[in-house]
C-alpha cells in the first residue's frame, strides 16, 4: 500500500532523551524526531499496512503538509474503509488534526498551509483543479473540537446547510410562490436531531437560540447540523474533549451508531476512548509521522512499534 516507506532493517536504538536523532533516518526519508522519553526506532512500512474487505472510502497517498517552513505531516498514506470508525491518536502537535482537515480541504482556509500528495474520495481525487468544494464538504462533513453552533435557533442551525445549498427553500418569497419547503425542513430537523440523539431533549424548543443548550447538547447539535447535509463521511476533531463524562459517553454511543451508515474518522486525545469506539486506529507520533495503523485491538494490545507501545502505555506524550 505504501511505497514511500523505504525502510531498512529496524534498528532498535537504545532509549534516548534527546529531542532529535539526526543520525537515524525515519521511514519517511525524513530525519526522525522524537521527544524525551521516547524510544528511537525506524518506522517500517508494514506497520502501516492494514488489510480490510471492500473498497476504501478514502485513500490518502503520500500526503505532505507544510505550514510555512514547518513540515507538519510527513508522507502519510492510509486507506479508510467504509462505514466504520477510524480513530487517529497521538501526542499533541503530531499532525492528526492537520491530517483530518486535509480530508475535506479545510486546510485551504489556512493561508500558510501547503499540501502535497493525493486524497481520493471513492476513487476521485479531491486535490485537483475543478473540485467543487461545496459538494466535497457536503459529502465530507466535519464536527469541531469545541461546540460551535451559530447564534440562531436550533431549527435554523440544522437547516442552515441545506438552505444555503439551495436544497430547501424557505422564507417569504418561497411561501408566496408556493414553493416553501417548511414541511421538508421540519422533517429534516427531526431526522437529523433523532440521528444525533438530541430530539427528545429539544423537540419542544426548536425555535430557541442554540446557545442556550448545554455543552454536550451543543456538540450533538453540531453533529446533527453536519448530518443534515447528508454526508457520507463524518470527520470529528476531538468532539468530546470539552465535555463532561456523561456528555462524552453520549457522544461515544452516538459515534458507534453513526458508523452503521457513515464513515467516521475521529481524532482523539483519549486512548481509552479510541479503544472503545473505533474499528481501526492510526497512531501519529512526534514529527507528523504515521507510525502504525491497524485494527484497534491489535494496535492497543500488541503494537508492532516500540514507540507506539511506549505511547500507549503512557511512557511519553
Amino acid at each position: 500500500m505504501t511505497e514511500t516507506t523505504q525502510s531498512t532493517d529496524a534498528e532498535q536504538a537504545a532509549e534516548s532523551t534527546q529531542t532529535t536523532g539526526i543520525d537515524i533516518e525515519g521511514g519517511t526519508g525524513q530525519p526522525l524526531e522524537v521527544t524525551s522519553g521516547e524510544t528511537r526506532e525506524q518506522t517500517r512500512d508494514e506497520w502501516v499496512e492494514y488489510e480490510f474487505d471492500g473498497a476504501a472510502k478514502l485513500a490518502v497517498e503520500d500526503l505532505d503538509v507544510y505550514y510555512g517552513d514547518d513540515h507538519a505531516l510527513k508522507s502519510v498514506s492510509m486507506e479508510i474503509p467504509e462505514n466504520s470508525v477510524t480513530a487517529l491518536i497521538g501526542p499533541s502537535g503530531c499532525g492528526k488534526s492537520t491530517f483530518l482537515r486535509c480530508l475535506n480541504r479545510m486546510n485551504d482556509r489556512i493561508k500558510a498551509a501547503r499540501i502535497d500528495g493525493s486524497v481520493a474520495l471513492e476513487g476521485e481525487e479531491i486535490y485537483q483543479d475543478g473540485v467543487n468544494l461545496v459538494e466535497l464538504r457536503k459529502r465530507v462533513g466535519m464536527v469541531f473540537q469545541s461546540p460551535n453552533p451559530f447564534p440562531k435557533s436550533i431549527r435554523d442551525n440544522i437547516s442552515y446547510g441545506p438552505r444555503k445549498h439551495g436544497d430547501l427553500e424557505t422564507g417569504f418569497l418561497a411561501g408566496l410562490l408556493g414553493r416553501s419547503d417548511d414541511d421538508a425542513v421540519d422533517d429534516l430537523v427531526e431526522r437529523s436531531l433523532r440521528q444525533a440523539a438530541l430530539w427528545d431533549e429539544v423537540q419542544d424548543r426548536l425555535d430557541d437560540n442554540a446557545l442556550g443548550l448545554s455543552g454536550g447538547q451543543q456538540q450533538r447539535l453540531c453533529i446533527a447540523r453536519a448530518l443534515a447535509t447528508d454526508p457520507e463521511v463524518l470527520l470529528m476533531d476531538e468532539p468530546a474533549s470539552a465535555l463532561d463524562p456523561i456528555a462524552t459517553s453520549k457522544i461515544e454511543d452516538l459515534v458507534h451508531e453513526l458508523a452503521e451508515d457513515y464513515t467516521v474518522v475521529i481524532v482523539t486525545h483519549n486512548m481509552q476512548q479510541a479503544a472503545r469506539i473505533s474499528d481501526q486506529t492510526a497512531v501519529f507520533l512526534t514529527g507528523g509521522e504515521l507510525v502504525e495503523y491497524g485494527e484497534t485491538e491489535q494496535v492497543f494490545e500488541d503494537p508492532e512499534s516500540q514507540r507506539v507501545e511506549d505511547y500507549i502505555s503512557g511512557k511519553f506524550g
Binding site: 479545510m106 469541531f144 460551535n148 442552515y160 446547510g161 444555503k164 442556550g212 453536519a226 447535509t229
Partner: protein, 540 residues
C-alpha cells in the same frame, strides 16, 4: 514571616467606632453635595442656612469633619480603636500630601502673610516636607488621617475667621483680567477638602490596612462617578427647565384643533395643535415655531444614514473578510481613523467646494445629506470592522465545513452576529452628525427662520418626468434649515427679533430643547434596534 502584621481572622465588635467613621464619611458626602450646589449657584454662599451663612456653615462642618478624622487616627494609634494599619501610608499618599501642603503653605505665606519669593518658597518647602514626613514616617492610621484632617480643619478655620469670606477676590495680577472670586473658590476648596477627608474617614471605617485602602478607593470612585452623572443630569435638566415655557405655548387639544395634514393623499385635521413644532416663523403667526428645522434635521440624518451605512458596511466587509491583511488594510485603517477625527468644518468646505457646484449650484438638502454622510462613513467603517473581527472564527469554520460559500457565510452568519456592534457605531455617528452646525452652514442652510410653507417634503417632492432620469425631486435640491443651524443663528446673529417672535429667549431655549429631544429620539431608536438584534443573538 518576619515583619508580618498579625491580625485576627474575626474582628471584635467595633460597631461603636465604625459608626463614628461612617458618620464622618456621610458628613464628607453631605459637604461635597453642598459645595457642588454652591458651585452651580443653587445656593449662594451668602445665603443663610439654619441661621448662619453658607460660608460659616461650610467652615464649621469642615472643622468638625477634620477633627473627627484626626481624632479617629490618633485614637487608633493609641489603641482605643481596633484597626489593622500598615507600618506606613505609602509613597503615593506621602507624595500627594507633600504636594498638597506645599501648595497650601506657599499660598498662605505669599497671600495671607505677604512674604516674598524666598519667604514663601521656604515656607512651602517646610510645610511640604513636614507633610511628607507626617505621612510616610508614622503608622498608617496617623499617616493617612493627620494630614487630611488638619487640612480640613485649617480650611474650615480660614472660612470661619473670614480670611476667605464672601467678598474675597484673589487677583492674579496678570496682564489679562484674571481673578478667583469667593463664589468659585470656596465651593471648589470645600469639595476638595471633603473628598480628602472622606477618603481618610473611609479608610478609617475599613480599619486601615488592605480593607481600608479598598474602602477609601471605593468612596473616591463612587463620589467621582456620581458627580459626573450629576453634571450630565444637570445639563439635561437645565435645558429642559429653560426650554419648557417656550415649548408648549398655545398647546391645544380637541377635534379640529390642529392644522390640516395630507398624508399619502388623505387629508385630515390633527386633533392637537402644538404651534412650536407645527409652525414656521411668519409675521402673521400667533405663535412661531421651528417645524421646517425639525423636518430638515430628520431628513438630513435619514439621508446621511441611507448614504453612509451601506457604503461603510460594504467597505468593512471587504477589508475584513476579503482583502488580505497587510499594508493595504493598514493604510485604509489609518485613513478612516484620520477621517473620523477630521474637523467638521473641513467636511463642510469639501461639500461647499465639491458637492454644491455639482448639485444645482446652490445650497441644498442633498448636499447637506451627502456631506454629513461622508462624515458618518469613517465611523461606520471602523465600528463595523471591529464588530466583524469580534465574530468568532469558529462560526466561519463551521459554515465553511458545511460547504457554504464565503459570501453566504458573511451574509447569514457574520453580519447578523456583528449587527449590534454596527448599530452601536451608527448610534454614535448619528449623535455626532445630528448636532453638526458647520457643514450645514456651508452646504444646505437657507433662511434662518423659515416660514412653515418652506418645510421640506421629500416624499411628496418626487415627481415623474418624461426625460431621463424620469424621476425628479426639487425638494432635495432646495436649501432648507436644520435645528443646530437655526439655534446658532438665533443666538449669534439675533435673527428672528424682527420676525414677530414674541419672546426670543424662550424661543431659543425651546429650540435647544427640541434639538436635544430629536437627537435623543435617534438614540432611542438606535438603542431599541440594538437591543432587538442582541436579543435575537442571545439565548435569553
Amino acid at each position: 514571616m518576619a515583619g508580618a502584621v498579625e491580625s485576627s481572622l474575626v474582628n471584635e465588635d467595633t460597631s461603636g467606632t465604625e459608626t463614628i467613621a461612617a458618620s464622618a464619611v456621610g458628613l464628607a458626602a453631605v459637604l461635597f453635595a453642598l459645595s457642588l450646589a454652591a458651585l452651580f449657584e443653587f445656593v449662594a454662599i451668602t445665603d443663610p442656612i439654619a441661621g448662619v451663612s453658607m460660608v460659616v456653615l461650610l467652615g464649621a462642618l469642615l472643622v468638625v469633619l477634620g477633627a473627627a478624622v484626626v481624632a479617629f487616627g490618633v485614637g487608633s494609634r493609641l489603641g482605643y480603636v481596633a484597626t489593622q494599619p500598615r507600618p506606613s501610608a505609602g509613597l503615593v499618599a506621602s507624595v500627594a500630601f507633600a504636594g498638597l501642603w506645599f501648595v497650601v503653605g506657599g499660598l498662605v505665606a505669599s497671600q495671607t502673610l505677604g512674604l516674598g519669593t524666598v519667604g514663601w518658597g521656604a515656607t512651602a518647602l517646610v510645610t511640604g516636607g513636614v507633610a511628607f514626613a507626617a505621612t510616610a514616617l508614622p503608622r498608617e492610621d496617623i499617616g493617612s488621617t493627620l494630614p487630611a484632617g488638619s487640612l480640613a480643619i485649617l480650611t474650615g478655620v480660614i472660612f470661619l475667621a473670614g480670611i476667605i469670606g464672601p467678598s474675597w477676590v484673589w487677583d492674579l495680577g496678570w496682564e489679562q483680567q484674571a481673578s478667583f472670586n469667593a463664589e468659585f473658590a470656596i465651593p471648589v476648596v470645600t469639595a476638595f477638602c471633603s473628598l480628602l477627608a472622606g477618603w481618610a474617614s473611609a479608610k478609617a471605617y475599613g480599619g486601615f490596612g488592605a480593607r481600608g485602602r479598598h474602602v477609601g478607593a471605593y468612596v473616591l470612585v463612587y463620589l467621582n462617578a456620581l458627580s459626573i452623572i450629576a453634571v450630565l443630569f444637570l445639563l439635561v435638566a437645565f435645558t429642559v427647565l429653560k426650554g419648557l415655557p417656550g415649548l408648549f405655548n398655545g398647546l391645544a387639544f380637541g377635534p379640529g384643533a390642529g392644522p390640516e395634514t395630507t398624508l399619502f393623499g388623505v387629508t385630515f385635521t390633527l386633533p392637537v395643535s402644538w404651534p412650536f413644532v407645527m409652525n414656521g416663523v411668519a409675521l402673521l403667526n400667533d405663535i412661531n415655531g421651528v417645524l421646517p428645522a425639525i423636518v430638515g434635521t430628520i431628513w438630513l440624518v435619514i439621508g446621511a444614514v441611507v448614504f453612509a451605512v451601506p457604503l461603510g458596511v460594504g467597505a468593512a466587509v471587504f477589508i475584513t473578510e476579503y482583502a488580505e491583511r497587510g499594508r493595504f488594510t493598514q493604510v485604509v485603517e489609518v485613513a478612516t481613523n484620520g477621517l473620523w477625527s477630521t474637523p467638521s468644518i473641513v467636511f463642510g468646505l469639501f461639500g461647499l467646494a465639491f458637492l454644491v457646484p455639482r448639485l444645482g449650484n446652490g445650497k441644498s438638502l442633498l448636499a447637506g445629506m451627502l456631506t454629513l454622510g461622508f462624515m458618518l462613513l469613517p465611523l461606520v467603517v471602523i465600528t463595523s470592522r471591529e464588530a466583524m473581527l469580534a465574530v468568532p472564527d469558529e462560526y466561519r469554520d463551521a459554515s465553511a465545513a458545511l460547504g457554504v460559500s464565503k459570501w453566504q457565510t458573511v451574509r447569514s452568519i457574520v453580519l447578523p452576529a456583528a449587527l449590534p456592534g454596527i448599530v452601536t457605531g451608527i448610534i454614535l455617528g448619528v449623535g455626532r452628525i445630528a448636532g453638526e452646525t458647520a457643514p450645514i452652514l456651508l452646504t444646505m442652510s437657507g433662511s434662518v427662520a423659515p416660514p412653515g410653507s418652506q418645510t421640506v417634503d421629500v416624499i411628496g417632492g418626487f415627481e415623474f418626468t418624461t426625460a431621463p432620469p424620469f424621476v425628479d425631486n426639487p425638494e432635495l435640491l432646495q436649501a432648507t434649515s436644520a435645528l443646530p443651524y437655526q439655534l446658532y443663528s438665533l443666538i449669534t446673529a439675533g435673527v428672528g427679533q424682527s420676525s414677530n417672535i414674541a419672546n426670543i429667549d424662550e424661543f431659543r431655549w425651546a429650540t435647544a430643547l427640541i434639538l436635544l429631544v430629536v437627537v435623543l429620539s435617534f438614540y432611542a431608536v438606535g438603542i431599541a434596534t440594538r437591543y432587538y438584534f442582541r436579543r435575537k443573538l442571545q439565548h435569553e
